[in-house]
């Protein structure tokens, strides 16, 4: 179970794979640039790619400055979600009362559209960092709880019995059996949650903020600087991809699946 996708293993195969990717995106870029010019699309609707690239270079300081702010919101929200998500999952799994009370409440709260909550969060926690961290947290929390819970519950029964036969205490069984066998599911949850954390922060910035990439997108669109809108969108996307890659990289440390 070391990797889900089939990978080209030979050097030549890998080079060819890279080449195919590059060719594909180069074609997309040419189609974008070409169709904007040929059909004479007005740039406030869709700027040519070259303008977007120029904008990225010209406004790099601005993008960086706002990007750092969004990055901090996302990372703080995600880490908070990962830590409290695991604790919540453990609580619901091990405490029967929590399973009957906290868990249904959680499911209920999850059903509230979080985008609709955003204005309230801004009112409660202000225009600054806190409200965005909380938005990011809200988006990322639930998938982590659910997948970690699934991992804890999915500990193979025959291994549990094996630990009983070895007279392992509940504590030892938790650390040496349940935690490692739930880790892959936890990582899966983190992979789902990471892009959601970015969305949460940007939504928060849309609803009420003075800075951040979401704010920059709003300002740029409002002043018809569509190339800056695209540049900011590109920055958010790049950040989301990079953070996902970091999570996936950590995830590769837990390559096993307990159901061997």
């Amino acid at each position: 179970m070391r990797g889900m996708s089939r990978r080209s293993t030979t050097k030549g195969g890998r080079a060819r794979g890279l080449l195919q990717g590059v060719a594909f995106f180069a074609t997309l870029a040419v189609v974008w640039e070409g169709s904007v010019r040929i059909f004479d699309i007005r740039s406030y609707l869709l700027p040519p790619l070259s303008d977007v690239i120029k904008e990225v270079i010209a406004s790099r300081a601005l993008l960086w400055q706002h990007g750092i702010i969004t990055f901090n919101e996302v990372v703080l929200g995600f880490i908070a979600a990962a830590i409290s998500g695991v604790m919540m999952a453990a609580l619901v799994f091990f405490v029967p009362i929590a399973r009957r009370t906290v868990y249904p409440l959680l499911i209920g709260l999850q059903s509230i559209p979080k985008v609709g909550l955003a204005p309230l969060i801004i009112v409660w926690f202000g225009y600054g960092l806190n409200s965005k961290v909380i938005m990011s947290f809200l988006f990322a929390f639930f998938p982590i709880v659910i997948s970690t819970l699934g991992g804890l519950a999915g500990t193979p029964e025959h291994l549990e019995e094996h630990f009983r036969a070895l007279r392992a205490s509940r504590w030892v069984t938790f650390w040496k059996l349940r935690v490692p066998s739930a880790l892959p599911s936890f990582v899966d949850g983190c992979k789902v949650a990471m892009p959601l954390a970015v969305i949460g922060a940007v939504v928060g910035e849309f609803v009420g903020s003075n800075d951040g990439l979401g704010n920059l997108i709003l300002l740029a669109t409002g002043s018809s600087r569509s190339s800056l809108t695209f540049a900011a969108l590109g920055a958010v996307t790049a950040m989301s991809l990079a953070l996902f890659a970091v999570v996936a990289g950590f995830g590769r440390l837990v390559w096993w699946r307990a159901q061997s």
């Binding site: 019995e161 094996h162 009983r164 036969a165 070895l166 007279r167 096993w256 061997s260």
Partner: protein, 265 residues
């Protein structure tokens, strides 16, 4: 891992003190009207004896082994191991299940160490090395279970049970999922390990030749609910050898006898 290793084997192990005593052990899963898996099973297993439990699928063999291992509650007059009534798993009992016991995130060596780790002991490095040697996996200590064959995995599971040096070894079809050829080979290795380690062994199986080849006694169970049909003493000379033992006339007689008991014609 060569056949000549068996030459050093000692004489036929005589029945000694009873180590495992079952007195009319019954088990019903669920409520009183649930599935009756065991119905009044009584027998003894003596020190250093090799006893096989033979019976059709679903007759309660695994249930019986779980009861001896202290992993499941049961009814009846009593069940004791080493003179102690069984109420929970004991340190002196090692168990190998039908499905692999191995933790996929631990190497062979770390899996062997698990029992000691759980008891907060440092495993004796000499014993570890000797055990790897005995199960024929020297050089594989840093491999993960998914890098091993099914037979190698079960050998690690047996090693894991043995490394803690329990008096009693309970084996639930340890080679059940393997092909016949590998199974024969591993059975022979099991025999060698048993002779070297001087354990009391209870092996669950539904293979008649396997039970005869390995055992001092074969306990034959009926279809569900499992009752004891007959307790057959296997008086084949030891050391046993895959070729001469299996082809002897006595072996054939035991095959016929046990086959009749199990309703195979």
């Amino acid at each position: 891992m060569v056949a000549s290793a068996i030459v050093s084997a000692t004489e036929f192990p005589q029945a000694r003190e009873p180590v495992i005593e079952l007195r009319s052990v019954s088990k019903t899963y669920g409520a009183a009207d649930g599935v009756k898996a065991l119905d009044g099973v009584s027998f003894d297993v003596h020190e250093q004896e090799f006893v096989s439990i033979l019976g059709p699928s679903g007759c309660g063999k695994s249930t019986l082994l779980r009861a001896i291992a202290g992993l499941t509650a049961f009814d009846g007059e009593g069940l004791s191991v080493g003179g102690q009534p069984v109420v929970e798993p004991m340190d002196d009992v090692g168990v190998v299940f039908q499905s692999s016991n191995l933790l996929p995130w631990r190497t062979v060596e770390a899996n062997l160490r698990l029992g000691a780790e759980i008891r907060r002991e440092t495993p004796d490095p000499q014993r570890m090395t000797a055990m790897l040697e005995m199960i024929g996996l020297s050089g594989f200590e840093n491999r993960y279970p998914h890098e091993l064959s099914g037979g190698m995995r079960q050998r690690v599971a047996i090693g894991q049970a043995l490394v803690r040096n329990p008096k009693v070894l309970l084996l639930d079809e340890p080679f059940g999922a393997l092909d016949a050829l590998t199974r024969d080979k591993l059975n022979f290795e099991l025999l060698r390990i048993w002779q070297a380690e001087k354990k009391t062994v209870v092996l669950v199986t539904h293979s008649i030749p396997e039970a005869i080849f390995l055992s001092d006694r074969v306990v034959v169970m009926s279809d569900r609910p499992g009752r004891l049909l007959e307790d057959v003493r296997i008086e084949l000379p030891r050391p046993r050898d895959p070729k001469s033992t299996r082809t002897s006339a006595d072996f054939g007689k035991y095959v016929v006898r046990l086959g009749e008991l199990m309703g195979v014609q």
